[in-house]
Amino acid sequence: MANPSSQVLTANRLNDGTVLYRKADGWVLTLAEADVYDDKPAAQAALDAATAGLTRNEYVSPYLFEVRRENGVIHPVKEREIIRAAGPSVRADLGKQAQGV
């Protein structure tokens, strides 16, 4: 069952803008590898930690977004995050989808 409150934390890498997803205390490049926070306190704690880490100047604009999990696969709820996780829907040769992600 999808948990309506499941969330993932994302940001952009400072030096090139690449989309990042939070995993443990660091970041990964793909949504599939991201940590999913199934309750609000866990999600908020991750966001707080990432916000505190902004002073390291490695990434910008951290925020949480909703996801659901089906058969162990993470799916963003909103179209915006689906596109952000894959790349432009009109250019399958660009973005994370082009890197076989």
Binding site: D16, G17, T55, S89
Partner: protein, 558 residues
């Protein structure tokens, strides 16, 4: 390589752009070292056209009044190839955007741009943005004067103008020199139309308070006839009223269109008149004739050959292209050729690095080294010999640049939408592609005639949906994309704001709804009527009925 007649940087321009580029390099270094945090850095990067979008940074490069030389086009191709992912996107403001630049590379990109007299200054932020102009400037048959010298004067006046660096909101100015409006004047914060008065003297009609976005307005006349030497004083007077009285408490009410309609145009004229008289008295903003002449000289008409009008004929593909993509030139034997960046199923406004290089070669060989970017997201070869048209068409066809659809229903304006943009609520490009495929048949397109479809992925209206004969606005309903249909808009000299039909359509329904609307037009039009004319005669109701399928439903129910 041909050297077109266009403005060339003087020492001041070159120094100013070089200094800004060097400053930004230092700012990026300081950001990466952590000496600047993101809150401090963001306004600095925006002042240089660098946004953070959905997937990556985006760099918006200014193309002043849409004019490019072949050397500049080659540089844009080079940047796309070396620093980006092999393409660029031409926008509705005659600019080009790169969708994937790395922050660390942007100082080098700006240095490359500066080497061909280009930059990204004032392509973002609450300042006077890149001045746009008629893309047929200097070539159009109906032109009173080339609008680009004035556009260049305004560019110089408004670049880093200390009073206008922190306006209540962004400010967009367009200039046209012809009665047929190809620059969407009525939808600009301010616009200048070059006119001739009863005595045959050339001056400027100034419009104010037009705009799109969530509160669309058609601009109104602020000055019927402003003398040439007074234009900067007059514009500055209006800007001062806006700077003093424009709202800074609410960004949705901060554009000059809101102020103009709150005060009323009469009051706006009165206040501008008082300020104008003060500036005139001081005498500091008189535009000396010598200076205007000096700038005008940069844009002198090229040394045209003496030729006869003789439009060549060719195969069906050439004839189809000639019919829509070739326009009359003021000089006998010459023509204006539009390069459509709207291949059926392609991304409106996108051009690959290879296409840009191919266009640069065509510019050098056939168009005196010059090209224009149009607000309709196409390119325009302004001065080509009629006898070269078949060769130009063949050269373009080799790079998928010969789509014969300028001004037709598949020549669709679309913003980047949710495929790229951080502000978007819905995708625009796939909708444009669906509609273009629906109407791909060329005979059908010609039968439909002039029909401008414009698509925006959010209320900010970069895709000019208010001004589309058929406009489409993407909205978000609980994370799902929906599309509102608007009918009856125009950005031309018969400007009007499109009316929203009703509830939105899904991504899969919208192209069908457009097709039903167009089919009703074909069934009901009277002789010589464009879609817009038929809509204006008949009103929304019959189109609404077919769009939502009620009439079809009635047919099936017998």
């Amino acid at each position: 390589m041909a050297e077109p007649n266009m403005y060339r940087y003087d020492e001041f321009d070159a120094q100013f752009v070089a200094e800004r580029t060097a400053q930004f390099r230092t700012q990026v270094e300081r950001r990466l070292k952590g000496e600047l945090n993101e809150d401090q850095f963001k306004p600095l990067r925006l002042m240089n056209g660098l946004y953070l979008q959905l997937h990556a940074y985006m760099l918006r490069v200014a193309v002043p009044y849409g004019t490019l030389s072949s050397a500049q086009m080659r540089k844009l191709a080079h940047i796309a190839r070396v620093y980006d992912k092999g393409y660029g996107h031409f926008t509705t403001r005659q600019n080009i955007q790169y969708n994937w630049p790395a922050l660390v590379d942007v100082p080098d990109i700006l240095e490359e741009l500066a080497s061909v007299e280009m930059h990204a200054i004032q392509t973002s932020g609450n300042c006077i943005r890149n001045v746009t102009a008629d893309h047929f400037a200097g070539a159009a048959l109906d032109e009173i004067e080339d609008p680009r010298p004035l556009a260049e004067v305004i560019r110089q006046w408004s670049s880093l103008h200390p009073e206008f660096v922190f306006l209540p909101r962004k400010f967009k100015i367009a200039v046209s020199g012809a009665p047929n409006d190809r620059a969407a004047l009525a939808y600009h914060d301010m616009a200048i139309e070059i006119v001739k008065n009863d005595q045959g003297r050339v001056g400027y009609k100034v419009l104010v308070g037009g705009g799109m976005g969530r509160t669309p307005y058609i601009a109104q006349v602020l000055g019927d006839f402003v003398e040439k030497e007074d234009i900067l004083a007059f514009l500055e007077a209006a800007m001062r009223i806006y700077n003093q009285q424009g709202r800074r408490d609410n960004m949705y009410k901060a554009r000059i269109k809101i102020l103009t309609n709150a005060l009323g145009i009469e009051e706006m004229r009165r206040l501008t008149g008082i300020e104008f008289a003060e500036i005139k008295k001081a005498g500091t903003l008189q535009l000396p004739k010598e200076e205007l002449d000096r700038i005008t000289a940069y844009f002198a008409a090229p040394a045209f050959e003496t030729l006869e009008d003789a439009m060549p004929s060719g195969d069906a593909a050439f004839e189809a292209w000639k019919k829509t993509n070739v326009h009359k030139h003021r000089q006998p034997g010459y023509a204006i050729a539009t390069i459509s960046l709207k291949p059926i199923g392609g991304v409106p406004g996108d051009a690959s690095a290879d296409q840009m290089d191919a266009v640069a070669a065509i510019m050098d060989r056939y168009s005196l080294g010059e090209i224009r970017v149009s607000h309709e997201q196409n390119l325009v070869l302004p001065h080509v010999r009629q006898k070269d048209l078949p060769a130009i068409h063949a050269a373009l066809a080799g790079f998928d640049l010969a789509t014969p659809n300028a001004g037709l229903i598949t020549d669709i304006i679309a913003c980047p939408g949710l495929d790229y943009c951080d502000l978007a609520n819905a995708r625009s490009i796939p909708i444009a592609q669906d509609i273009a495929k629906t109407f791909a048949d060329l005979d059908r397109q010609h039968d439909i005639g002039e029909l401008k479809i414009k698509i925006s992925g959010c209320i900010n209206a970069c895709g000019h949906h208010h001004a589309g004969h058929i406009g489409i606005l993407g909205v978000d309903k609980k994370g799902v994309e929906f599309y509102q249909l608007l009918l009856g808009g125009s950005g031309a000299e018969d400007a009007s704001i499109g009316q929203i039909m009703g509830p939105g359509f899904t991504e899969h329904e919208i192209a069908g709804a457009v097709e039903r609307v167009v089919n009703l037009y074909l069934a009901k039009r009277e002789k010589g009527e464009r879609f817009l004319d038929t809509y204006r005669r008949m009103g929304m109701e019959p189109f609404k009925n077919v769009a939502y399928g009620e009439e079809l439903y009635a047919v099936h129910q017998g």
